[in-house]
């Protein structure tokens, strides 16, 4: 639904029109209720104004029918808004499976972006128009919040875990990026831009950026440097589980429960190996914890690497390449 209302920022994402539509509906509702009640009050106030100082009117009993009417009526309207709002919420917060992936590490007071291909940006993000973009975010210090008014999207970035957000830009342009969660002195300077480019321009931009190898390949290097590969080998001969094909699968844990191996799980496995132990492995995991030894960015690289080998393709970063925009979900 496309609907443009004054005082709204650009509509530049696939769902910004839908947000505006609900917003417009609520505005109409507010004006309606506001106007009707105000007019009634003014009418009564004039009609029944006090004419004599000691006048006392005859009382009016309450009315059960009216009470029910104005309890149930607003309730139904409210439930309508609730349903509308939540369906939108689901759309906006449920990440699509197929998307261009971007990683963010936020810190006081900057946004650090990492593209899968290895390009890094600070406070400015380039994305192609018409592609779904999925962002995985974490922070090195306090809570921040990723806010792009033109996309109508916002999500907090919380220390100690990954949060995710997605959008599909529909209009090329340059849009504000704000930090919306108060984070200290530089909070209002923690702003940046999202550059939405035509697909061809974007390709050119990608090619122009001097990348030091894709994110996954940096992760792979790290995987060797940190000697992860001594235990995690693709031939199932290591002391740890095989990580190929892990991502997105259900993992059976030693306490009998299962978890889906998503980014947060992999992050936790690396930083706090004792927290969740894979079924069939020794209870105090022999895997050391890497908490405090590697930076958030390095964790991200490792996660990206493990993700890239998750789709059982040859490890050489094939899966990590951005898909062409034609890919259907």
């Amino acid at each position: 639904m496309q609907l443009s209302i004054p005082f709204s920022p650009d509509q530049a994402s696939s769902y910004s029109g839908r947000v505006d539509a609900l917003f417009a509906f609520l505005c109409v509702l507010t004006i309606l209720f506001g106007a009707v009640i105000t007019l009634v009050i003014i009418y009564f106030a004039i009609k029944y104004r006090r004419r004599k100082e000691d006048e006392i009117p005859r009382g009016v009993e309450g009315s059960m029918r009216l009470e029910l009417f104005w309890t149930i009526g607003p309730f139904l309207i409210a439930m309508g808004i609730f349903l509308w709002g939540s369906s939108l919420y689901f759309t906006m917060y449920r990440p699509p499976d197929e998307a261009l992936e971007i990683y963010i590490v936020a810190k006081q007071w900057m946004w650090k972006f990492q593209h899968l291909d290895g390009q890094r940006e600070i406070n400015e993000l380039h994305v192609p128009v018409g592609r779904k973009v999925k962002i995985t975010m974490t922070t090195e210090d306090v809570i921040h919040s990723f806010f792009v008014p033109a996309f109508r999207i916002k999500m907090d970035v919380v220390p100690g875990k990954y949060s995710k957000v997605w959008f599909e830009p529909t209009k090329p342009g340059r849009y504000h990026l704000f930090c919306a969660e108060y984070c200290g002195t530089g909070h209002s300077r923690m702003i940046g831009w999202i550059d939405v480019m035509e697909a061809s321009e974007y390709q050119a931009w990608l090619a122009g950026g001097a990348a030091e190898g894709s994110l996954a390949s940096s992760g792979e290097k790290l995987f060797q440097q940190l000697a992860c590969n001594t235990c995690h080998r693709s031939d199932a001969q290591g002391r740890g589980p095989v990580l190929e094909g892990l991502f997105g699968k259900a993992v059976q844990l030693s306490d009998g429960s299962t978890v889906i191996a998503d980014e947060n799980y992999i992050r936790e496995s690396i930083l706090n190996s004792q927290a969740k132990i894979v079924a069939g492995f020794q209870k105090p995991s022999i895997m050391p914890t890497f908490q405090g030894l590697i930076s958030e960015e390095q964790v991200l690289q490792l996660v990206a690497y493990i993700k890239s080998i998750g789709t059982k393709q040859p490890t050489e970063g094939g899966a990590a390449k951005p898909q062409p925009p034609t890919t259907q979900q």
Binding site: Y93, R94, P95, D97, V259, I260, D262
Partner: protein
């Protein structure tokens, strides 16, 4: 509403029960019962607390209003716990539900 005087005998009986329950809860805790450990420990704790509230604190003989207040206290605690956990317990769901 005149006040009710509880005989010391009742107090001693309740005291004995509390002491016995304390010993029981300690002994049971030493066995490894899996998740039942928590259940047993909390059940006993709730029974003990109820005894104290009903007898030592005289709620058994108190007005309805007192009952309402006692229940409200625990009910509100339950609200806090239940709704907070409604967040934590469902955090993983969205990933699972994704097609």
């Amino acid at each position: 509403m005149r006040e009710h005087i509880v005989s010391p005998k009742v107090y001693f009986a309740v005291f004995t029960a509390l002491a016995v329950f304390t010993v029981v809860t300690w002994s049971v805790a030493k066995l490894d019962l899996g998740f039942l450990n928590v259940v047993v420990a909390l059940t006993i704790a709730v029974i003990k607390a109820t005894l104290v509230v009903l007898y030592f604190m005289h709620v058994r003989w108190s007005s309805r209003l007192t009952w309402v207040f006692v229940c409200a206290g625990f009910f509100w605690l339950a609200i806090m716990v239940a709704l907070t956990l409604s967040d934590y317990l469902t955090r993983g769901w969205l990933t699972v539900a994704a097609p």
